[in-house]
Structures are given as C-alpha cells and as structure tokens.
Subunit: 300 residues, 2 copies
C-alpha cells in the first residue's frame, strides 16, 4: 500500500487531521493552504475515496482513518529507527500513547508504568476513555495501545488477555441501614444508586441478575464519571454501587462500607490491545503492563 501512496500526501493528510483545518496544517508544514488542499485531493483521487469530512475541525472518514493510522505508524517506525541509530537527541524522548479504562487508571496501571526502565526515556500520553471511543482511537492511530474490556481486536491490532477486575456491590453502613433493610433482591431496585455514566450497565446488570433477568437499579441515580469520585460518592452515602474490589477492600475492612451480596461479585475481563508493530518502546510497555496485571488482577 505504501508504495502506491506518496508519503508527502500521507503526511499532509495527517497534519490536516491533527491541526483541524487546512490553514493550520499549511502553517505547520510551511506550505500554502492551496498546496495542502491539492495534496489531499490528489490522495483522494489516487485512493478513489473521500478521506476527509470538510467539517470544522475536519474529520477523517473511515477510509481516511486507515491512511491516518498508516501515517502515524510510519512516523513511529521512523522514530524507532532513529533511536536505534543513536540519532535521537536528548530533547526528543519517545512518546507512547495509551488509552486506559478509568478503573484501571486509578488502581493498577500507574504502578505498571513505573516499572518501565527509565533509561528508555519514554513519555506516556494516557487517555482515559470508554470502550467505544477506545476502538476509534486505536483505529485512527491516535493511541498505540489500550487497556480495554473488549477482546475483539481492532483492525491492525493484537490482543492479549490481562486478567479480570472484580466488582462488589457495596454501600455505606448507615445507607444500608436506611434503604436496604429487607432481602437485598427486594430493596436494591428502589434504593438510590451511584452510576459511572450513561453507558455504565454494571449496577443495572447486577440487579437484573439478582432478579433473574428483568428490571434494573432504581430511578434515583447519581452519575459520577470518575473512578475515585464514584467510590467517594458511595462512601459519602449518596447511593449503593458496584465498586472495584481493590478500592472497596480498605473501606469494607474499616467498616465504612458494607458488602451487600458477599457471594455475588461481577468479574470484568481486561485485555491489552496494541498495534501490530515491532517497536521496542511498545514492547517494553507491554511487558511491564502484562507483568503487573498478572500480579494485581485476578486470573481469568
């Protein structure tokens, strides 16, 4: 494919996507806006496809995403080659961009990154993203790797299982005393609940399983879209919620939280997805991440 796609045109497309407009890309590349426009048009004629939606900012089409990913992978290979040749100066650390789901980011993921040897001079660019968005980021090449709960490989990526994260149903002790006095199956569907965001189905799914398939958590629901905020909200007594076991553990031990259904936990499997690319930087990160995950997550 690269043999047929002129690299200056591929790089120009990337610049337009990164800068958002043809004018900004022209400024970044030190060429005229009309040169930028001509190169993108030439690339579209060559591929026979519309590559950019001319919105503000511009957005790549599905075909455009393929070319943008190619451009980013080429840039990465070039940088790795320069590093191998000793051409990477002091001022140019190697950037590794990774999408991480929120609960991993607030529990085991940063200790994993701290294990990557400092001599590699890597810079981490972390993005906290939900499932759907993560796939788009990998596809478009905006991140090189991701911790995700989906085992379906994104095009051009490999997948490696990391282990499972366990969630337990928990509530503040006095909250449970007030709202959850009867059998948990009866009380839970009416009690105030804390939910991460509109896509978070953990609480509803838990109640559905308790009730044998129907219903969900109650209508009085608070949306708190950060991992620690979520635990704080449960600990403050705003509602019950499915809390990652590692975060619930100290609060359960101290008696601040109570476990609502000790025999029923929800296990979410996590996976490492990364570009199929022979990059030493990426390999070092994958090694540290998979090793830490093995030690901190539950086995599948």
């Amino acid at each position: 494919m690269t043999a047929e796609l002129p690299l200056d045109q591929v790089r120009t497309l990337l610049a337009v996507v990164d800068e958002g407009t043809f004018d900004a890309a022209a400024a970044a590349l030190h060429v005229t806006p009309s040169a930028v426009s001509q190169r993108v048009k030439a690339l579209e004629q060559r591929t026979g496809r519309v590559l950019l939606l001319r919105t503000k900012p511009v957005r790549p089409t599905e075909s455009g995403e393929v070319v943008v990913r190619l451009a980013r992978q080429l840039a990465r290979l070039e940088r790795d080659a320069r590093a191998d040749l000793g051409m990477s100066g002091e001022g140019e650390p190697t950037r590794v961009s990774i999408a991480v789901n929120s609960d991993s980011l607030s529990t085991w993921f940063l200790p994993a990154l701290a294990r990557v040897p400092a001599e590699l001079r890597l810079c981490f660019e972390l993005r906290r993203e939900d499932q759907d968005h993560t796939a788009a980021l990998l596809r478009e090449g905006l991140v090189m790797a991701a911790v995700t709960s989906s085992s379906v490989p994104v095009a051009g990526c490999s997948v490696h299982p990391l282990g499972t994260m366990r969630y337990v149903a928990a509530a503040r002790r006095d909250f449970a005393g007030r709202y959850l006095r009867g059998p948990v199956e009866q009380a839970l569907p009416d009690a105030p609940v804390v939910v991460f965001d509109r896509r978070d189905d953990l609480q509803d799914g838990f109640v559905r399983r308790l009730l044998g398939g129907a219903g969900g958590a109650g209508p009085l629901r608070h949306y708190v879209p950060t991992s620690e905020g979520f635990v704080d909200a449960v600990a403050a007594g705003l509602g019950w919620g499915m809390v990652p076991e590692v975060q619930a553990e100290p609060l359960l031990r101290s008696g601040r939280l109570v476990h609502l259904a000790p025999d029923r936990a929800v296990d979410v499997p996590l996976y490492w997805q990364q570009w199929k690319l022979d990059s030493p930087a990426l390999a070092a990160v994958a090694e540290a991440v998979t090793r830490t995950a093995e030690q901190t997550l539950r086995p599948r």
Copy 2:
C-alpha cells in the same frame, strides 16, 4: 421570546439535538421524520437563522444553542412546578446536572453534595469537564451549573466566587534526589514532568515564573488525565508536578513526596456558575456547594 417561538417546535429541536438524528427524534416523539424536519425548518424560518448543522450526529449552531438552552430551562421550570404542585411521583426524582473540574471532583465536591438534604430526592448528573467545554455545556443548557476557574459569566448564568485551590510543586523523594539536586530553577526545566493533559499549563507556568518569564517544563512529559492518576504518577516517581495541596498534604507529611519550592504556591480561584433560574433544587445545591467550599477552599 417564548411567545414568538411555538413550544412544539422548540421541543422538537431539543429532541433532535438530544437524539442526534431526525429519525431518532421522530421515534422518541412518536411522529414521522418528515414532521420533525418540517418543525425544525419552520423554527429556522421564524428565527431567520440556521439552528442545526446537519452533521451526524446533528449539532446546534450558536443560534441553535440559545433555543436548546431555552428548551431545557422550560423543561426544568415545568418539572419544578409539578414538584411544587405535588405532581412529581415517587418514580420521578429531580435531576440536577453539574459540570465540575477534575480536581474539585476528587477533593471537596462530593462531600458538598452529600450535604444536600436527602428529602429533596435530587439526582446528580456530574460531568467532569475542562474549562472550554464547560462554557459550551452551560451555554447549550446541558448542565445547569458548573464549578469553573473562569469568572466570566456564560450568557444566562450568574457567577459566585467559591475560594481558591492551592497547588504545590512536589516530587517523590528519590526522584528529587536523582533529578533535582541543584537549585530548583536550574534543575526543573530538564526533569521529567507529569502534566494533566495538553491544555494543562500549571507546570509550564510555574517554571516560567521561576525563571522570570521564559521557558517551561522539560520535554520528557507524561500526560495523565485523571486527578488521582496524576497524584499517583508523581508518587510513583514518573515526574514532578503541581499537586493540589489537599492531596499533597498527607504524602508530604509521610515523607513520600517532597515540596520543591515551599515558598511558591499557585492559587487557582474557583467559581460557581449557574443558570439564572428560580429553581429550589438548584438553590439547595448552590447552598451546599458554597458552604462546603467556604470551609475547605482557601479564602480568595
């Protein structure tokens, strides 16, 4: 304004924005897509303005945002009136949507919400947003209030100062021993640094002020876009960073972190912006938030 804008058209516009497409709005409103399209066109003719960009999903234009905000405020007033009339059933709690900056959300904000009387049966929908986006959310009426660092009122909103959040330059003890041995002004510009995201200027601004106006933090920078992840990254020794004093305090006391420039802190003022709207729910939240802020933030 409302006298001149037919309410069914205003509500239809809101449905299109919320559902993303004309077809989905038609399904939600139980009318045909062509009825939806006609109402939006009629509203555009009446206002003499394009209100929607026909993208996928559709997006409101600047004029469209004004109408969307109006629609949401009308819905809110209607809901409050029904609650006052005792028409709000058990199943319909009052929803209060608030945008909160990340550091507030992980420190003082949830204890504030826990102080809102439970009898009000409010549901909180929190959004963690950066500055620029928060203004858009208020303007478009997607949130009713926001904790922000901007004192410039968004159109249709009132502003109330909350106090200031103090940030201190901190690093892990062994990190400081390795990278920051000389005078801090000389060592800091070359040391690895942790930055929240691409818009976070706290670290660069701190170094610029140290150096008297020029330069910034070093090129080896890690982007960690969650508040607790940020503190964890500094505590794991990935780099130095500007940490909220309340989060740094216990780590400084235990000796895990060291204070890099004890006589130089950065104070960020915070403000409460909310719709100018006589809503009892909103007033109760504003009361709890301003009172907690008074007790936990530094005075201006």
